[in-house]
Amino acid sequence: MRQKPQHRRLGDGRLHLHDGPIDLIIQIFGERWAVETAYAAAWRRFQTILDELCVELPLLRAEATPTSARPAGRVARRMADVVAPFCETRFITPMAAVAGAVAEEILSALTDAAPLSRAYVNNGGDIALHLLPGESFTIGMVDRPDRPSLFGNAIVSGRDGVRGLATSGWRGRSFSLGIADAVTVLATTAAAADAAATLVANAVDLPGHPAIRRAPAISRDPQSDLGERRVTISVGELTPDEIDQALSGGLAEAARLKAMGAIEAAALRLCGETQLCGDNVIPAKARTAAPQALLSLDSRFRGNDSPVLFEGGDASRGRRETRNRGALNPTTGSDRHAVG
């Protein structure tokens, strides 16, 4: 039986919206009345989103081609439009952008409703941001949702063009054709970041490597938009050279997308190694000296000495075990002026 969409305020005032597979965490900064008005607007807009998408699911799950029909719904159109530039050279379906597109749609409902200084809509790690020019967000990046610890921070300032951020990887909730633990992408919109992160994560790969287990997507999820394509189930031991090789493949894809203007920056993570793409990416040590940094990485990757919040996942239970693609949680409060 259809469970109705739900909304509730978390203890710290953030709004949690839930409907079927969608969970949004929303936080808004502004005048009190504006915040309340915007929360109400988010809830109003949210209630029909899943139904709107489901009407067009078959189209959204089908491979995008230059001649694909354009869907009718607002969110569905956002998804189709954002993957369209990629479809001639890569396999992609509009579903690659669904999380980002939903986040974006709710964000626009918020910002249309009231004047706000900052806001974010976090759809399971795919985040749409609103920032006035003087404001910023610091966002922690996590590569292993089953064992979350920060491997870096992304700092997004209101003066950058970045309003969307997404993470993709085989350990996340969604299937990946590649082996990246996490690829985090900054782009002008959340939907664009979502689609691009999927492509870059797919490109971090070692085809035919014996330590990588794969299975047809539909053997795990009968309705997967990836069909018979083989998705990554587990990744065994890799040598440093192999890690490098896989990351370079991803880096090349990221550079291609950046040249197309599809992304601003990307951080690629595999087996504890990180590679960055983006002109204004500043290495960690220089971060404090370069407050304009678009994205910077904290070199203090916290290993075993850091508090481990979660035990490792049980691979036998399949991908769903590593569900918390809550990889990215915008930090709040004291971090708000981390830049500038």
């Binding site: 039986m1 978390l10 079927g20 969608i22 899943l50 909730r173 918390n324 809550g326």
Partner: protein, 483 residues
């Protein structure tokens, strides 16, 4: 339900996932367990903080890191929400947890029960007539229960139970299950009573009767109201009638008026006099004054005895909630003529209103730990019943206290507003899935034939939860429908 390959189609949301055995749907909340659709939400740990009055904090959210403390205050309490269960329960309950409280080893057996025979008792604070006793209560046109007794200004409904859940038609069972689930999860549900009213029920919220929000609960019956306010009316007005469909009160005849020396007024009421100053059946039940079917209160007054009454006699008529009132003065022919309410009486009317508490709907879930569920706790199920009877074992539902019925079995009721959000689930059987925990001393557990070899220390569970709940921030983080 079963498709080829034992795939199940989940209908919890419009995505309508086909789910393979052992896998979850796109939401990670519903799964296919041996061909059965089950909910797999993570356990929710409740922190028992008395100071916040039952405020419930989801496990490890809001950036707070778990410090590793198990028994130091605040003590995590493992609830059964999301524990999962099996049916029939020939296997030990999914989680049997031990912890050390005050130096005593405690065992909590945590399971989710599948309740095919369960129901809810609904208390609706309203004087308005919802329907005749025994009238069928419907949701979406299907019978889901009936109107039962009216008690203390509240109308009770009894919904669900085996006759609607499993013995009725297929659609009836489904709608009943849905209705119970929504009521238990504190959602608003519209119910209609045959030959009666439509009422929107939401636990902890005012009822909406025929589209009108019920603001206040009456202070008492008409007779009780006379008793409460007689002193304030005496000397200010000759007669007061408190209009109430159940028991209408008349000041001059009422014991309270007599004690104050109120003068007879010769008023003649309609209906049946029960004892002096107390009248039954002054009108038919309805949604007008005092829950009667009247909009003009004079309809219940038959007249005044000319030998006793006098011109100029003053009379206040007021409903049990003070929401309606009218003031009259008898003319030369002893006919009541409406007049403005004097200021000194207005205060008493306002006081009636002030004393009426907010009208609310309350929902009690009623479930029973059948022999099968008890077998998940102990090898000798009847001993669990005895242990509960002897108060050696405490029963809770989602950490909330329950009321256990005397008599056979372990039949309990719990206020659904005390459970965490969405603690209830369902299976398509149809039946409601609800958490239940049994807590007892470890030695008592062994004595009643418990599955002692399955006892796991609380620390293990917490770790395991952490593992399962990479979703811990479940409520915080996950979810996208990308497939």
């Amino acid at each position: 339900m079963a498709e080829t390959d034992d795939k199940i189609r989940c209908d919890a949301c419009p995505v309508l996932c086909y789910i393979r055995p052992g896998m979850t749907g796109a939401c990670d909340r519903y799964a296919n367990r041996n061909g059965e659709l089950v909910r797999v939400d993570p356990h929710i740990l409740l922190e028992r903080t008395l100071s916040d009055g039952g405020e419930i904090v989801p496990f490890m959210t809001g950036g707070r890191e778990w410090t590793g403390d198990i028994v130091n205050a605040p003590t995590p309490f493992v609830t059964a929400i999301g524990a999962g269960t099996t049916y029939p329960d020939y296997k030990p309950a999914p989680f049997i947890v031990s912890s050390n409280i005050d130096g005593v080893d405690m065992v909590t057996v945590v399971t989710e029960g599948i309740y095919s025979y369960c129901g809810v008792k609904v208390k609706i604070d309203t004087d308005r007539h919802l329907g005749a006793e025994c009238a069928t209560v419907r949701a979406k046109g299907e019978p889901v229960g009936h109107v039962t007794t009216g008690e203390y200004g509240s109308q009770m409904l009894s919904l669900g139970g085996v006759n609607h859940l499993t013995h009725g038609g297929k659609k009836e069972g489904r709608v009943t299950c849905e209705t119970l689930l929504d009521l238990c999860n504190r959602k608003a549900v519209e119910l209609t009573v045959d030959n009666g009213a439509s009422v929107v029920v939401e636990a902890g919220k005012p009822p909406i009767v025929n589209g009108q929000v019920e603001e206040r609960m009456r202070v008492g019956c008409g007779s009780a109201t006379i008793g409460m306010f007689a002193k304030q009316w005496h000397d200010k007005v000759d007669e007061v009638v408190v209009v109430d469909d159940h028991i209408t009160g008349v000041l001059s005849e009422h014991q309270a008026g007599k004690l104050l020396g109120a003068r007879d007024t010769g008023i003649k009421m309609k209906g049946r006099r029960s004892t002096p100053g107390r009248y039954f059946h002054v009108a038919a039940p309805g949604t007008g004054w005092g829950g009667a079917d009247i909009s003009d209160p004079l309809e219940i007054v038959a007249g005044f005895d000319p030998k006793v009454a006098w011109p100029g006699l003053t009379m206040l008529m007021v409903s049990t909630t003070g929401e309606q009132h009218a003031f009259y003065r008898l003319d030369e022919s002893l006919k009541p003529v409406e007049a403005p309410l004097p200021e000194n009486l207005r205060l008493s009317v306002e006081r009636i209103r002030e004393n009426c508490e907010p009208a609310l709907c309350s929902v009690l879930f009623m479930g029973g730990a059948g022999g099968s569920l008890r077998a998940g706790v102990t090898e000798n199920p009847v001993r669990l019943t005895r242990s509960v009877r002897q108060a050696l074992t405490t029963v809770t539902a989602g950490g909330a206290p329950v009321v256990i019925w005397p008599g056979g079995g372990i039949t309990f009721m719990v206020d659904v507003t005390l459970l965490p959000d969405n603690a209830f689930g369902y299976v398509p059987t149809p039946a409601i899935v609800a958490p239940i925990e049994f807590t007892m001393r470890l030695d008592d557990y062994a004595a009643l034939g418990g599955h002692v070899d399955h006892v796991r220390p609380l620390s293990d569970i917490v770790e395991r939860l952490a593992k399962n709940n990479a979703k811990a921030s479940a409520r915080e983080a996950p979810a996208r429908i990308k497939a």
